[in-house]
């Protein structure tokens, strides 16, 4: 069943006097429960595309359909995880995770029951009372993911969430992310510039062309899970993706 559909999304980047066509008609259909990784040359607008799906930006042409209905604003069924987490430094970890529930007016007791489950899932229970400045970058991203999952969204939108992590932490989170996806059955859109990350996580990898970008190729990845970053069987797939990407990067 189609969960999300992007129909001919066009977006201009506006600078003072001139404008730049960033997205040149992106079409993409995503089924319920898919894990789609978006890769592309830097500046191609893949993060902008994600923000349009989130409803944080509006496209200049085209539309996003969620369950067949056009997206006009941000909503709790499509939750974004930002690159640097965007955690609230004035709140403890647990209060960060419960933020969306509090906004929805859910009573304290119930909130802490729900957040407990996700703090546990992300192995954050020990840090429930910490402030974010006391956490490592990897821990912060765990909190950001827990904060998003608590909302129980249909779609998780992740904008290069592991870009700032060291290699070991990233490898660990790549495995956990697969487990979370299998456990929660969320539909996930995951922007990354890391091709290996894309092949480890995705059920499909969408390769963006250079500006004005479209989806150049949609590559399905059928391989057993949990996949590890160092798995050599993924290398040919990574080569495929890189051979699609290389000419685009050169154009840029």
């Amino acid at each position: 069943m189609t969960k999300l559909e992007a129909k001919n999304i066009v977006k201009y980047f506006k600078h003072d006097s001139h404008q730049l066509k960033a997205l040149g008609g992106v079409n993409l259909e995503i089924d319920d429960g898919e894990f789609v990784c978006l890769v592309g040359p830097s500046g191609c607008g893949k993060s902008t595309f994600l923000r349009i799906v989130a409803g944080l930006e509006t496209p200049d042409e085209g539309q996003i359909l969620f369950d067949g209905k056009p997206v006009t604003a941000t909503g709790p069924e499509r939750i974004m995880v930002f690159q640097e987490g965007a955690l609230f430094p004035w709140l403890r970890v647990q209060d960060n995770v419960e933020f969306g529930l509090k906004m929805a007016g859910i009573p304290k007791e119930e909130r802490s029951q729900i957040s407990k489950r996700y703090l546990d899932m992300m192995q954050l229970t020990k840090f429930a009372n910490s402030y974010t400045y006391q956490l490592s970058t990897g821990m912060k991203q765990r909190v950001a993911i827990a904060r998003a999952l608590v909302m129980d969204p249909d779609v998780l939108l992740m904008d290069e969430p592991f870009a700032a992590l060291d290699a070991q932490t990233r490898d660990l989170l790549l495995v956990e992310m697969q487990l979370i996806w299998e456990k929660t059955k969320k539909t996930i859109l995951f922007v990354t510039h890391n091709v290996s990350e894309a092949t480890v996580l995705g059920t499909k990898v969408a390769v963006f062309s250079n500006r004005p970008s479209k989806i150049k190729k949609l590559i399905p990845i059928n391989y057993k899970r949990p996949r590890l970053a160092e798995d050599e069987n993924l290398l040919p797939l990574q080569q495929d993706i890189l051979s699609e990407l290389r000419p685009e990067v050169k154009k840029g």
Partner: protein, 252 residues
């Protein structure tokens, strides 16, 4: 603070008092023009003993607190509107910058004309002297909020006053603290200046009484009290608050 810094400070103040005492003992100026530290201390003891000192301190601080509370409340509201509503910034914003350049004592004639020789008049001068510092710092703070904080909060369902109280104010708080600190400094100058000119109770009034009685030692004694209160509030209350907020927000 390190012990040797404290020692240096103590030595410095002992030297000042000793030099002061030495000059007064030369009798270059008569003691009614240049009193000795001992005479100033004696005067302080008299005003403390008859209660007028503490009544003066209490009156001034009460006016300060009321005026500052009004300034903080009003300044936060005005600052947030300026930061979030462009038309308010373009119109009222320019006026705020102009009004901030008026020294608070320049409001005294208006305060007297509008409120008469009352507490309300002095509080008016105090509040209006402090409000624009709070406004401008709140404005800067809200303008400098990481846009991802606001996007994440809206994505998780925060809107309207919820967004203001759960994100805008806490996120801007480090800047707002500097606004409170500046505001308090302006308010303290404002309240003393107004009391001096209104000549209606408080430490400013005691200064004025000292002048009318040609009592230089009373004038100096009250000035010392004003200075000590300033140092205590600044160094104890605001410094602690600032340190705590800065480290919690991960800014230090």
């Amino acid at each position: 603070m390190k012990a040797n810094i404290i020692l240096k400070k103590i030595a410095f103040y002992i030297i000042i008092v000793a030099v002061w005492q030495a000059i007064s003992m030369t009798n270059v100026w008569p003691s009614n023009i240049f009193p000795s530290p001992y005479e100033v201390g004696e005067d302080l003891a008299y005003t403390a003993a008859d209660g007028s000192l503490f009544f003066g301190i209490g009156t001034s601080i009460l006016r300060l607190l009321v005026g500052l509370a009004i300034a903080i409340g009003g300044g936060i509201v005005l600052g947030i509107f300026m930061a979030r509503v462009e038309v308010v910034n373009q119109t009222i914003g320019s006026l705020v910058l102009g009004l901030q350049s008026i020294p608070s004592v320049a409001w005294v004639p208006l305060g007297i004309l509008w409120f008469g020789l009352t507490d309300a008049g002095i509080i008016f001068v105090t509040a209006i002297g402090a409000i624009f510092a709070v406004t401008i710092n709140t404005y800067t703070g809200v303008k400098n909020i990481n846009p991802h904080f606001i996007e994440a909060a809206r994505n998780m369902g925060a809107k309207g006053t919820q967004l203001v109280t759960s994100v805008l104010i806490p996120a801007a708080f480090p800047y707002m603290i500097s606004g409170f600190k500046q505001g308090w400094a302006f308010a303290w100058r404002g309240v003393i200046g107004a009391e001096l000119l209104f000549s209606f109770l408080g430490l400013g009034f005691l200064l004025n009484v000292g002048r009318q009685l040609n009592d230089v030692s009373q004038v100096i004694a009250i000035m010392l009290v004003i200075m000590i209160i300033g140092v205590v509030i600044d160094g104890v209350i605001f410094k602690r608050l600032e340190d705590k907020v800065m480290s919690r927000w991960g800014l230090r």
